[in-house]
């Protein structure tokens, strides 16, 4: 791709826009084709300027970066969005990515890295700043890893038949349906389920379903 990459900047702070303009404008492979100071403006601007890459602030008046990203994705624009944020403490990372963002940068990222990020994103890569990466990993691996681990251990404490019954309960089946599926009498289902209640410390089949669900996510 020898063609220049079309970039747009969306931020409510004029100073930030100016800074980014300077940083990105210095690179001959990039050309800034539009700017906007809030989400509404951005939607219009992007429709007419058709940039390849958009640098988008999260916190903005009128329509924030998340909603704007979502709107762009919904409307089917082929724009690669890099979300900018001041703090990485935000719980917004996953939300932004889910809404279609392909990059996530902290504002204090060095100029050369920002330029690099834009180029990479234009080339089809996804780019995350290190702390964001760590967050993402935490999201995938953990969430509540202890809880999953606990669920797995609990299920392992069951006998084979008990576990089968528990899993069937997790699928929302009634005792009669379970008895048919596992080729056992309803009485037997009840017996197993009684043991399951004790072992999983549940009083209720919904609670059994919860444990089964938690354990399911742990694809060891």
């Amino acid at each position: 791709m020898g063609v220049t990459t079309r970039v747009a900047i969306v931020d409510d702070d004029a100073l930030v826009r100016a800074g980014l303009r300077m940083i990105l404008g210095g690179d001959p492979s990039l050309s800034i084709v539009g700017e906007a100071s809030d989400g509404r403006e951005a939607l219009d601007m992007i429709a007419t300027a058709s940039p390849h890459v958009v640098l988008m602030d999260i916190r903005m008046p009128v329509l924030d970066g998340l909603e704007t990203t979502k709107a762009l994705t919904r409307r089917g624009d082929h724009v690669r969005i890099i979300v900018l944020t001041t703090f990485d403490t935000d719980e917004l990372v996953v939300t932004a990515l889910r809404h279609g963002a392909v990059g996530f940068l902290l504002k204090d990222t060095s100029p050369s890295n920002i330029v690099d990020a834009v180029r990479r994103v234009a080339a089809g890569e996804s780019i995350l700043s290190p702390s964001v990466t760590a967050q993402l990993i935490a999201k995938v691996t953990g969430g509540s890893d202890a809880q999953r681990e606990r669920a797995v251990v609990l299920l392992e404490g069951l006998t084979d038949r008990e576990r089968e019954v528990a899993i069937a309960v997790g699928r929302g089946l009634s005792n009669t349906e379970i008895s048919a599926e596992l080729f056992m009498g309803v009485a037997t289902v009840k017996t197993h389920l009684g043991h399951v209640f004790v072992k999983l410390d549940a009083t209720n089949r919904v609670q059994v379903a919860r444990v089964v669900h938690d354990a399911e996510l742990a694809s060891d």
Copy 2:
């Protein structure tokens, strides 16, 4: 930290080990304190050599990189593991990260980037190669997005009270408990729940719990 970072290499291919040794040995801030050609060896070697960072291949005889990583994590070693792989098509990324790896690199990564990665990891960052990042994002965003979206839509179709009841059901509460928590009669709980069954196309409170759970993951 002016101290040199202790690095270990685990790979069954002697050529790869030699290559990495050359690449990493060239950097004065790193010192290679051990090597192993399979997982078993690695466990012993790491115990005695106590490296800060381990570069670990996934595909190895005897004990693969995944299991080795898992074993190290379980045994409580304070080692930061970077997983190496030839192809990024692997479904192993998430598994590796879940088992305690903090980095994931393709073997064709440039030498300078590998060195950089080791230093970053030693400094506490998490590092992923671009395509892996994309995969990770896909994992977080996707998974079963349609299912989640469906769940969210279904819950939005409920009235406020119905939704509150549904969520309470998802927590495994009985009708009596729900009536106490939401300050309404048990009869009212039943009424709402009846509507919930219809709207969520459920016949059974476990199925309601499933929908609620699916929707919970979608933090819109």
